[in-house]
């Protein structure tokens, strides 16, 4: 019976190991763009660029540089961009496939008060 127990759990654990081994992301981006997060002299927060345009279905690689002394985030519930925290002075990447449908999508920092202070950009998706 111990054998039966092992015969069931070993494949399950092997599947886990296999998943880890195969877990590598290798998506080739159509467009690569650098977004800088910062704070102006007036205390307003910003993303630079503020706007960008991509074609529907394109794979976009955002390289997000935090030029500020505090944490910022880069995400969009509307566009389906997963939240990523960018520590001060650090760089992060986010790979995103633009929707098939044309439209305008906001990308923002969702930390308390940051979006309200201006840390938001828009991506326009064209057919």
């Amino acid at each position: 019976m111990r054998l039966a127990f092992l015969s069931l759990t070993v494949p399950a654990l092997s599947a886990l190991v296999g998943l880890v081994a195969s877990a590598c992301d290798s998506v080739k981006a159509d467009v690569e763009t650098t977004v800088v997060a910062g704070v102006g002299d007036d205390g307003r927060m910003w993303f630079e660029p503020v706007e960008m345009t991509v074609k529907a279905g394109q794979i976009v690689k955002f390289i997000i540089e935090n030029d500020d002394g505090q944490d910022h985030e880069f995400e969009s519930d509307e566009a389906g961009i997963e939240e990523i925290l960018v520590p001060p002075g650090r760089t992060r990447e986010a790979v995103w496939r633009a929707p098939k449908k044309a439209g305008t999508y906001p990308i923002y920092c969702d930390l308390p008060g940051h979006r309200e202070s201006g840390m938001e950009m828009t991506v326009t998706v064209e057919e």
């Binding site: 019976m1 039966a4 127990f5 990523i84 925290l85 520590p87 992060r92 990447e93």
Partner: protein
């Protein structure tokens, strides 16, 4: 996948044990005709757990931004409390679970109520179901739950059902003590990750105001938003640039909960070794 598989395997086997012990005991006391009441209780508990999970998921889908972060963070911390309690409760009860359950069934059979038997199965299995749903939901805070996540949950449940079937069919002697010890330690590691992730979520919405500075940055080696990074985040609470507060919480939890888990096991083993000697002395 690994997270959801471990959760449903462990919780499913706990529920399966309860059902197997109850059904086997009914057979032994000549009350097998009451087995449908047990299955009815199990079915209602199972469906109720799915309804609870659907409710949590629908609530989460209605939320976005900070509200969602708060909901997920609170669910994670609540799951840590439940998971820790469950691991230690199971450890304390493992040795007597069969005897306790049989005496409960005896009491219910004494009353002659089929409904009470169904309620017994419902409450025992329902508790495991609620725990499973809560943990699986908390796990979705760090990974987008796709086919792998739910597939892992299904595989874990299937393995648990097959093992429970072995136990029922042959009164099989599986190495259950080893199973609960190993999964107990694994669950403590999962809970530590959940604690760290939960604190991070609540920090992001301002509920936990300060977690201190970032301790290091390993993003160049393992990206948080890669598949492997998400996998590590779900299993171990990996974050490439943890806050000092997260790290302290993680290490403290593993040291305290893990230490208590191992110490109690050692204590139980020593007590078992000393008991016969004590009996000889008293003779």
């Amino acid at each position: 996948m690994g997270f959801s598989l471990l959760i449903t395997l462990r919780e499913g086997l706990e529920a399966g044990l309860i059902v197997a012990i109850t059904l086997a005991y009914l057979g032994r006391v000549g009350q097998s005709h009451r087995a449908p009441a047990v299955w009815a209780g199990v079915a209602v508990a199972f469906l109720g757990s799915i309804a609870l999970g659907a409710g949590l998921e629908l609530t989460a889908r209605e939320l976005s931004g900070s509200a969602l972060d708060f909901f997920e963070g609170a669910a994670m911390l609540f799951a840590v409390v439940v998971l820790t309690t469950m691991v230690f409760w199971m450890r304390a009860r493992a040795a007597t679970i069969g005897r306790d359950l049989r005496s409960q069934v005896d009491r219910v059979l004494g009353k002659g109520s089929t409904l009470a038997l169904a309620l017994l199965a419902f409450s025992a299995v329902g508790r495991e179901g609620i725990e499973t749903v809560l943990f699986l939901f908390a796990g979705t805070g760090t990974v987008a739950p796709g086919l792998e996540y739910w597939g892992g949950a299904a595989v874990g449940l299937l393995i648990a059902a097959v093992l429970a079937g072995f136990i029922y069919a042959g009164g099989a002697r599986l190495p259950l003590s080893a199973f609960f010890n190993v999964t107990g330690v694994a669950l403590i590691v999962l809970a530590a990750g959940m604690l760290s992730n939960g604190l991070m979520e609540l920090h992001e919405v301002g509920v936990v105001p300060d977690l201190g500075p970032h301790v290091w940055d390993t993003y160049g080696y393992l990206k948080d938003n890669s598949d492997a990074g998400r996998f590590a985040a779900t299993l171990f609470g990996y974050t490439s640039s943890p806050f000092l507060g997260q790290l302290i919480a993680y290490v403290s939890y593993v040291a305290l909960a893990g230490g208590a888990f191992v110490y109690r096991r050692d204590l139980q083993r020593r007590s078992a070794e000393l008991a016969p000697a004590a009996a000889v002395v008293s003779d």
